[in-house]
Symmetry: C2
């Protein structure tokens, strides 16, 4: 059973202002929820149609009908469970060897996919410009497939950070060096730009290492790659050795 | 001005059965529409709020209000134009050197992104299993960003095709050979599997060249990559030389 107030609260968490006001976000699906539980995310409450999370005490979980689940889910086809978690306080930035910095990524699916990629390639620190979509947006949480629990995300003034970092700074441009022929170090900061405009003019001068993913052949008119697929290729190149 | 019947027709084209019945699909946005126009797609009618396609004769275009555009668009934030095109008859399969075969890709965004990637990497032939999402789904058309005009897509019985092709067949699995250390030819057929289940049991035996994209480090628990990002890495590896 889900009360009207609970439905109102959970659906409100689809909007950033209510996530901030309540310091809560929600995740859907057994796997993603389990990974958050295992990673010190503090559960507020779990709503499940069937799956019994034995590790959760009875006062923190409710069995609900599929109809109730539909009312609180953000998905067209809801999973079997929705869990509300507390938004943790931002952890300090990890001084890792390889950092991904996102310059105004707007699409939640792209951000989620990039976090999943970072997790795959062992990158534990992602920096987002303040204009980047909120990591606790339910579509981001969904697209990370649990990786949100393992990648540290901080929202920062990217220009300020790039000005002070000692890491070499990389980014992709149409006129950069062929990434396949560039020596790529195992430490560095990789800037990925906005879906429509790429890396912003404000940051471009700070990106000293300009890379390009070569387009194959000359006949194609494709002007760009999706930012998540471009990130996949760049991270693969940095890690392939 | 858009008539009620036109609104009814165009919105019906969001569903496959009405696309088939009417042999029509629609695209949104100036750039994507222009690329379809330049690529022999036959325009039925264009609805635009502002942008004047000079190359289109007056009887094939209408200036509409933003409110009208909202009624026919499939997007939450409509572009400035919607164009209805005839679905062309399927062209014969191109006997190219490198073919991508999709085994039950269900998500329209993934199919669109993969076609955009194929276009970037100069792959002009994509084969889809009959279970793969329809290429004329508006979300697919949107995600291709115009690449749908340059990549030949055929829906086939994939098993039958794999049984008769002379191309070496590649696919990614959790237990395959490290793709970074494999010699990859410039001809071959690359099978990419379903979002949840990977390559189907029915096809697996036919994929003689089993590849893996290595996960970096051992601590990560990420179980998989999104199929579009995996395709990005695989195509990059085949083309990087």
């Amino acid at each position: 059973m889900v009360s009207k107030n609970q439905i109102k609260l959970i659906t409100s968490l689809q909007q950033k202002k209510y996530r901030i006001a309540n310091k809560l976000f929600f995740a859907e699906g057994v796997k993603g929820i389990q990974e958050l539980l295992e990673s010190n995310f503090e559960l507020e409450h779990l709503y499940s149609t069937a799956y019994d999370f034995e590790e959760i005490s009875a006062d923190r979980k409710s069995i609900v009908t599929e109809n109730d689940l539909k009312k609180i889910s953000a998905l067209a086809t809801p999973n079997s469970c929705v869990a509300v978690f507390k938004i943790p306080t931002e952890k300090p930035i990890l001084e890792t060897d390889l950092i991904v910095a996102l310059d105004s990524i707007r699409d939640p699916g792209n951000l989620g996919t990039i976090l999943r990629l970072c997790d795959w390639f062992g990158i534990t620190q992602v920096l987002c410009s303040k204009e980047t979509v909120d990591v606790y947006n339910p579509k981001v949480v969904q697209a990370t497939m649990g990786s949100i629990a393992r990648v540290n995300v901080n929202y920062v003034d990217l220009k300020e950070f790039l000005l002070k970092t000692k890491l070499p700074i990389f980014g992709t441009f149409m006129d950069g060096d062929n990434i396949y022929k560039s020596a790529l170090p195992q430490h560095g900061l990789i800037v990925m730009g906005n879906e429509a405009n790429g890396i912003s003019a404000e940051l471009e001068n700070l990106v000293k290492n300009r890379l390009t993913i070569p387009r194959y052949g000359n006949l194609q008119k494709t002007e760009s790659l999706n930012v998540a697929t471009a990130t996949a290729i760049v991270l693969s190149e940095f890690r392939r050795g």
